[in-house]
């Protein structure tokens, strides 16, 4: 009940014409920035930061969190329209959304994903509002051993993303691991493979996905002389509001995705990525039409997209309760809090609780506005794309080049994107799956580091994995689930011929 009164206090602060307009604009700005390849939440917040100086603290914070939330909505737009995800959690969106786009269902994919983003966002917000202190007091008991196991769980979905050739999938996963080893290794203090100074911090992940998906797709289409026919520009709003059958088909997935995203997605680091991939694996497992996955399955799009957005409010929990940022975007929010003269840490809620609750109220508003503004913006984006569809190759290359440049304001990342563009093209041509590769790039370095950190915490003793109760619990759960999975598979196999007979 306490949380509700404080939230009401927050709302009374936020519900002014100025603030409402500001939040609405912030959401729109975030959507546009997030839709540009190469620019994600971190860039969006950083670029808007100078605007907030001189604003009242609550308004400034609302602007920043509105942009943050907006970029998460915007990220799906380029994933679906030009197959160029902006960050790791949006990869699944591209894998399922882009095929829908090619079928002429781009509007439906965008509308549906906006809807599940909204539901996911609300789940996450509810947890933030009612359970933030509880969640953070338990979350700190998760240490390196638990995170290692979680990364392992995420990596195990490679098997599901593998397609029909396991050797090819394994090969690409290994290449992903190798690509992820570039740059400084904080566990040992060594710098690996810095052939040029730009590589000291490793290969930029966003440059990799811009190349692998964006440029790779352009090259492939050039060869096949694919003429993408997206239809004529139209402003018929019906095209963009998901029909009843789609909502029915995606409803369960959205709820499951929201729950999984809230539980796993709020863990700092790769939580959101692991959640989207696990949710994708789950949907595919329980689907009656698993063969549709990878070719534009509605449930495969809606579930992970809900997980993705459920994790956004979650990543704010450690920030506002302990002053610990859980993602790139929240790290910049931390800087903003300091600039506003607040002290992020365990006393933030006590010293500046009113401002924080105003920010949370702003987030609730932003989430509602974003659903509406996105449904309104979808026709704009779709029609923009349709009007240049004859020049799609040059438009996508231009966006990819400029996006890669924006990562570090240098041409180095454009070279990186080109290299991975060639890789993506060859992989697509020779039928090698990209999923295992990209998942390994994200999770392998985390798994490696958490593993070494665990052993060091245990002073060289491997028993740390079974001495810690949560870690032991996860291991048991993994073994049981794995066993159950295999058992049901056998059971189904045995039943199949019987059913046919």
């Amino acid at each position: 009940m306490d949380a509700l009164t404080q939230l009401a206090g927050g709302f009374s602060e936020v519900l002014t014409v100025y603030n409402i307009l500001l939040i609405f604009l912030a959401g729109m700005i975030g959507t546009v920035v997030g839709a540009l390849p190469g620019l994600g939440p971190s860039a969006g917040i950083a670029l808007m930061l100078p605007l907030t100086f001189g604003m009242p603290h609550a308004s400034g914070l609302c602007l920043l969190t509105g942009v943050y939330m907006g970029t998460m909505y915007g990220g799906r737009i380029t994933s679906i329209l030009i197959n160029t995800p902006g960050d790791a959690p949006a990869i699944i969106t591209a894998m399922e959304g882009y095929p829908m786009m090619l079928r002429g269902q781009g509007g439906l994919a965008l509308g549906l994903s906006a809807f599940s983003s909204f539901i996911g966002g609300f789940f996450g917000l509810a947890v933030l509002i009612f359970f933030a202190p509880v969640v953070s007091s338990y979350a700190i008991y998760l240490g390196a051993p638990e995170y290692f196991l979680l990364m392992l769980l995420g990596l195990s979905t490679i098997v599901l993303l593998a397609g029909d050739n396991m050797v090819k999938a394994l090969l690409m996963a290994c290449v992903g691991v190798l690509v992820s080893t570039f740059g400084s290794d904080y566990i040992s203090g060594h710098i690996r493979f810095a052939f040029t100074p730009e590589l000291i911090e490793g290969i930029d992940f966003v440059a990799i996905i811009i190349g692998l998906y964006g440029l790779g797709e352009v090259f492939y289409n050039l060869e096949k002389r694919v003429r993408i026919d997206l239809g004529k520009p139209s402003f018929n709003i019906r095209e963009y509001i998901p029909p009843a059958y789609a909502i029915k088909e995606s409803g369960g997935a959205t709820v499951r995705g929201s729950i999984l995203g809230t539980v796993i997605g709020i863990l700092p680091g790769a939580g959101a990525t692991v959640a989207t991939f696990l949710e994708y694996a789950l949907e595919r497992r329980i689907s009656r039409k698993p063969e549709e996955f990878g070719k534009g399955a509605i449930a495969g799009l809606a579930g992970p997209e809900a997980s993705n957005n459920a994790s956004v409010p979650g990543s704010l929990i450690p920030l506002i309760t302990l002053g610990i940022p859980g993602s790139g975007g929240t790290a910049i929010m931390l800087g903003a809090l300091i600039m506003f003269g607040m002290q992020p840490g365990p006393l933030l809620m006590i010293k500046s609780g009113d401002v924080v609750w105003a920010m949370i109220a702003g987030l609730v508003l932003a989430n509602i506005f974003l659903l509406f503004s996105n449904v309104l913006l979808i026709p704009v984006f779709v029609n923009l794309l349709r009007s240049v569809q004859g020049h799609l190759a040059s438009v996508v290359i231009a966006l990819c080049v400029v996006g890669a440049f924006s990562l570090a304001y240098s041409t180095f990342n454009i070279w990186v994107a080109l290299v991975f563009g060639v890789l993506g093209y060859l992989m697509k041509k020779a039928d090698y799956p990209t999923g295992p590769f990209i998942l390994a790039v994200v999770l392998a370095p985390l798994a490696e580091n958490y593993f070494r950190q665990s052993i060091m915490l245990g002073q060289g003793d491997w028993a740390i994995f079974i001495d810690r109760p949560i870690s032991l619990g996860i291991i048991i759960a993994m073994v049981v689930l794995g066993g159950l999975g295999m058992a049901t598979k056998r059971f189904m196999k045995r039943r199949e011929p019987a059913a046919r007979a």
């Binding site: 090969l171 290994c174 290449v175 240049v388 020049h391 040059s394 041409t411 992989m427 490696e448 060289g460």
Partner: protein, 148 residues
């Protein structure tokens, strides 16, 4: 095995070979767990092994009686435009290191629309200029990213 697959596997083999050799300079183990060289070294070896398996499989399949030997030679002419675009893009990125990002990019876009997408020259110029103007407005004027 298709030509693209051979190029892909050869490229990956070279890549992992280079990293394999460079990783020998780094400690393989540390006091308590493995060192920075452990993962690159072992994964590079696994990659080379997997590439070997794929190559042997392809070789065996090729030796089977009745196998179509011409599968190795793929239609090169369809891959030529892609190679051309990749070279053009590389040239454009190289030109960008002299300062301007948008000028080489604009040129590349015009060539793409004109030669590869089959639009008229004037139309290609106009559309490219319009798209670049939008990009410049958003990135440079609005977001203040130093894009020239």
């Amino acid at each position: 095995m298709k030509l693209s697959e051979i190029v892909l596997l050869a490229g990956l083999a070279v890549f992992s070979g280079v990293l394999l050799i460079s990783s020998l300079d780094m400690p393989y183990g540390s006091e308590q767990s493995f060192g920075p060289g452990y993962i690159p070294l072992n994964i590079a070896l696994v990659i080379l092994g997997l590439i070997g398996i794929l190559a042997v499989k392809a070789f065996m399949a090729g030796r089977k009686p009745g196998a179509d030997g011409s599968a190795v030679i793929e239609d090169l002419s369809s891959a030529l435009p892609v190679a051309a675009v990749i070279v053009l893009l590389a040239g454009a990125i190289y030109a960008m290191s002299w300062g301007s990002i948008l000028a080489p990019l604009g040129l590349l876009m015009i060539i793409l629309s004109w030669r590869f997408n089959g639009h008229g020259f004037v139309k290609s110029c106009l559309v490219s200029a319009a798209i670049l103007a939008v990009i410049y407005t958003i990135f440079s004027l609005w977001l203040k990213i130093p894009l020239q």
